[in-house]
Symmetry: C2
Subunit: 271 residues, 2 copies
DNA sequence: AAAAGTGTCTTGTAATACGAAACATCATTT
DNA sequence: AAATGATGTTTCGTATTACAAGACACTTTT
């Protein structure tokens, strides 16, 4: 599914992570044969990799079923990572208040490598849980988060998206480049954008950008819910709370509008 | 520090995880040279491994400082693992109530591979935070958690510990095998055990075992605090709440005392 | 009783991960 | 301003080693 990887580093390590991620993607426990088929390799190879992963504790083997699942080391490294990822530590308080104030699901995503990845979702107060799975990738032209990221990033990201083509997800998905451009302009003007029914029918989201200390887009915050609770024109309280949260997070990341603008002027003067 | 690994699986993958874990262990960002020195290998090799890790998103490179830190994928795989590790899902509610009821720090550890690893610690209500770092290893003969795990596990685990030798950590550490045996007997009789000043002076803990569906020790729950708040003879409320939590977690793991005993009788009759 | 699964183990070979050393950028020092 | 000593990055030949194929032991299904 992923674009053919142009031979990155250490081949056997790539396979090891393929195995690890396949184990992670499996709903329950997985067997060696199943993994081998999934990854298009032999049982022996998968087995050997599982051995290392088990020895390291990233994967565990159920001694009775002899099948495999994620191990404690995987969890623990994630715990360490949670404390090291600025976007997470910077956003935790702000998204908790945002959720409590508005009651809708709050989603934080990170822009990494031309993709928006969902880092954290905190479900709203409603009994019906609407959210986006952590780790999943947000379509840049088809979600509020994606559009707001595009609006405030380098034009090169937009060009990249246009080159890939604007695939239709629902009949409200933006597929005309001109309309997308107009939306991005609107996002820049307002500081936020919505995306009712564009990715999934019946669902809407309002997203705002998060900036890092150098003024680049680090990610997005968004509130997500049914079109009933988040209208195409969201109520002012929702917008205000969202913008407040996004500013607070950016601030925690060291973003300072004035300082960034000044630095930009210097840089362009130098070149 | 760890016992010389007897050549487990794929060598280059071992190195890759060495690199990953070294990045995780570093307080902030790390450089290639630093890592190479730390791992006793060359810069080139470390660099190549970092490339794969970065490509996969487990590690990220700060483009301005060119140094490395843990990446979002590490966090995300941990999130998935958190949902797959039975001991975590089974204990989350119980430890939250336990902490709220008693107010002291609660620590859950898992028995994996003859070692007790701290999975989760929830700090108590006091302003002074006393806890055990997640991912750290608990000394089996020198902590309440370790002793309770020894008490309810196979004798082979105890033999393993005795073979290693009972290293002294404080002047209250149990270093005589006979005294350890006596403590284990007490733990079995009471269903819990304390360990005042045995690992760190001034600190005490009360621990109880967690059993899985086959009746084996899966881990421990413990409350940890200063000797002032957790006395060598803990107050009944603390003991009762701890035992209630441990039973609740074991139950969530599928432990059923009657069923396990019956199964044991059948097994021994068959042999 | 046979057949089709499973996970595990062995072996020869071709691929590849490694180490050493060179290279390109920086800061700092001289 | 030149020189030094860091850093991260790249190249290259070789010895290592990870791989595929197939055998094996075992359980479950037919």
């Amino acid at each position: 599914m992923t674009t053919a990887r142009p031979d990155g580093g250490v081949k056997s390590v790539q396979l090891a992570f393929d195995v690890l991620e396949a184990v992670a993607a499996a709903p329950g426990e997985v067997g060696v044969s199943e993994l081998a088929a999934l990854l298009g390799t032999t049982k022996g190879t998968v087995f050997r990799h599982l051995q290392t992963l088990v020895e390291r504790g990233y994967v565990e083997q159920n001694t009775v079923s002899t099948r495999y699942k994620l191990g404690t080391r995987s969890y623990l490294i994630g715990q360490v990572a949670a404390g090291r990822i600025e976007l997470l530590t910077a956003s935790s308080d702000a998204i908790a208040s945002l959720r409590d104030e508005i009651g809708e699901t709050v989603v934080v995503s990170a822009l990494r490598n031309r993709t928006l990845i969902v880092l954290r979702t905190v479900f709203g107060k409603s009994n019906l849980e609407i959210g986006v799975r952590q780790g999943s990738e947000l379509v840049l032209h088809g979600t509020a988060q994606g559009k707001v990221a595009l609006a405030f990033s380098n034009r090169s990201l937009l060009q990249h998206v246009l080159r890939q083509g604007l695939t239709r997800l629902t009949d409200h998905t933006i597929v005309e480049p001109a309309r997308l451009e107009a939306e991005l302009e609107q996002a820049r003007a307002q500081g936020f954008i919505t995306a009712a029914n564009e990715e999934t029918f019946g669902i809407n989201a309002v997203a705002a950008p998060i900036f890092d200390r150098s003024g680049d887009v680090a990610g997005t915050v968004a509130i997500v819910g049914s079109v009933q609770n988040i209208r195409p024109d969201p109520v002012p309280a929702q917008i205000e709370a969202l913008l407040k949260a996004s500013l607070r997070i950016s601030w925690n990341l060291g973003y300072d509008r004035g300082a960034v603008d000044a630095r930009r002027r210097l840089d362009s003067a130098a070149s």
